[in-house]
Amino acid sequence: MAISPRYTREIPHRYRLEAQRFSSGYVTLANRYVDPETGSREFENITLSGKGKILTWTVISIAADAYTRETPFVIAVIETEEGARLTAQVVDCMPEDVKTGASVELVFRKIMEEGASGIINYGYKAILI
């Protein structure tokens, strides 16, 4: 579910892990204007190191059509060392190697293809470190 202009807008965070740190200390990878907890509107742009830990995870066996070829695949909620939370696939590993609390690093990978004639989508996935 991505079309080219929409995809382009997401490149800063998907390709380069550009994030925001609010004056309250809240760090978000998703582009926000307001810290949802404190209401702070003051922030600086930062770039995430890509290192983090798995908070919880699953193995997807039944996926939407665009991802079916990859099943079964691991999905995790990750908290980066800066405190940003995100959802990403964990790749280059067997599901039995994944554990809550495991250290991961975000890497640049292909995510999916938009059908036979659409663009190829890229973004971040995680590997165990």
Binding site: M1, A2, E10, R14, L29, A30, P36, L55, T56, W57, T58, V59, I60, S61, I62, A63, A64, D65, A66, Y67, E70, P72, F73, I75, A76, V77, I78, R85, L86, T87, A88, Q89, P95, T100, I111, M112, N121, G123
Partner: protein, 382 residues
């Protein structure tokens, strides 16, 4: 605000309704509800639906449905809050009647899910499209991550988790509208195919077609239409983080807690007053967390309590007497309205073999996404 009552209900069977279109189903439910109440004219119509555009390429449902239930000219609008759309439609209709803007409102919900080829994609639109769905996570996947967090923190076992759908299937046996009124065993859950580890197919509510409608009017006029009006005494609605990863605690659903608190406050009752509750068990783990957020159990206790026999007849609050989303079926936009219908039938003493005896208060809890929204209704027998 004026006091508001439910004076008529109607719903289709839930299931694979291949011969019925989205408007056929809505018309069946709406006309049944109008006949039940004995009303011929609807002043205002609210249609709860999550994704008719993606499922059936039909938007503008307020107009479609008003036209096809013989109510051209009525005020008509669609209400959307993902899987909580139906409950939000009831709330919207309640507000209009309570405000005095109209006397006879119809709140309905509908979803035609079996017309879609890629239902996982459609359902994932209720999550955060840019930051969650893009990763390939599905809705079962999001709830699976909640289940893992809960099981690791509180020591809930896979077998104990299976007790939730087993209980709900047992309840659905007595529900003539249920999609799956068949018994289910613990072994049947544990042997079902994996969908998103640790959740298996029998932890997940099904793909369903269906519609459900209720008619609301001011309580002081309700006796003109029915001997057994049921009063809506409390409503709470709340939002939460759209993405699961933004929940401070993956074993909690803040929107449910907030909606419940608001409904209890408005109704001036507490969990101990509630005889039965229809909860949004889209996945087995959801029923457990929701039951805790609504105050029926302490945090970390509901899963083991249900595994030990809580949540069914003769053992405190009855959870999902209808069979819940798992066994009754989950046509997403219709679910919240169907929950209010179950509360109404129970409080009218019309629930047949699944009747909860001596109930004064019943509750319906409807939820969108992975806790992005929730709406809670408390109803009282008159």
């Amino acid at each position: 605000m004026r006091e508001v009552a439910v004076i008529g209900v109607g719903m289709t069977r839930f299931g694979e309704l291949w011969s019925q279109s989205i408007r056929d189903m809505f018309a069946e439910a709406a006309l049944k509800a109008m006949d039940d109440a004995g009303v011929k004219k609807i002043e205002s119509l609210y249609v709860g639906c999550m994704s008719s555009g993606l499922y059936t390429a039909q938007e503008h449902l307020g107009s479609v449905m008003a036209d096809y239930i013989g109510q051209r000219g009525a005020a008509a609008v669609r209400v959307e809050s993902a899987c909580a759309s139906g409950g939000q439609a009831v709330r919207a209709a309640f507000m209009e009647v309570a405000s005095g803007a109209c006397d006879i409102a119809l709140a309905g919900g509908v979803e035609k899910m079996w017309d879609a080829e890629d239902s996982s994609m459609v359902l994932a639109t209720a999550s955060d499209q840019e930051y969650e769905a893009y990763s390939g996570v599905t809705f079962p996947g999001l709830y699976a991550m909640m289940a893992r967090a809960y099981m690791e923190r509180y020591g809930l076992t896979r077998e104990e988790l299976a007790a939730v759908p087993v209980k709900n299937h047992k309840h659905a046996i007595n529900n003539p509208h249920a999609q799956y009124p068949q018994p289910l065993t613990i072994e049947g859950v544990l042997k079902a195919s994996l969908v998103a580890d640790p959740l298996r197919l029998m932890d997940c509510s099904p793909i369903s077609d269906g519609a459900a409608c209720v008619i609301l009017c001011p309580l002081d006029k309700a006796k003109q239409y029915t001997d057994k009006p049921v009063k809506i005494v409390g409503i709470g609605s709340a939002s939460g983080p759209i993405a699961l990863h933004d929940h401070a605690d993956f074993t909690r659903l803040d929107a449910v807690r907030l909606a419940g608190e608001r409904a209890y406050k408005m109704a001036n009752v507490s969990p101990k007053n509630i005889s039965f509750v229809e909860v949004h068990d889209c996945f087995s783990i959801a029923e457990i967390i929701v039951a805790e957020e609504l105050g029926f159990f302490e945090y970390g206790k509901a899963g083991k309590a249900i595994a030990n026999g809580a949540g069914t007849y003769g053992n405190g609050v009855v959870i999902n007497p209808s069979g819940g989303l798992k066994a009754k079926g989950h046509p997403v936009g219709a679910t919240g309205v169907a929950q209010v219908i179950e509360c109404t039938l129970q409080l009218q003493g019309k629930a047949g073999k699944r009747q909860v005896e001596n109930a004064r208060y019943g509750m319906a809890q409807n939820m969108g996404g992975s806790g992005g929204s929730s709406v809670v209704h408390i109803l009282e027998a008159q």
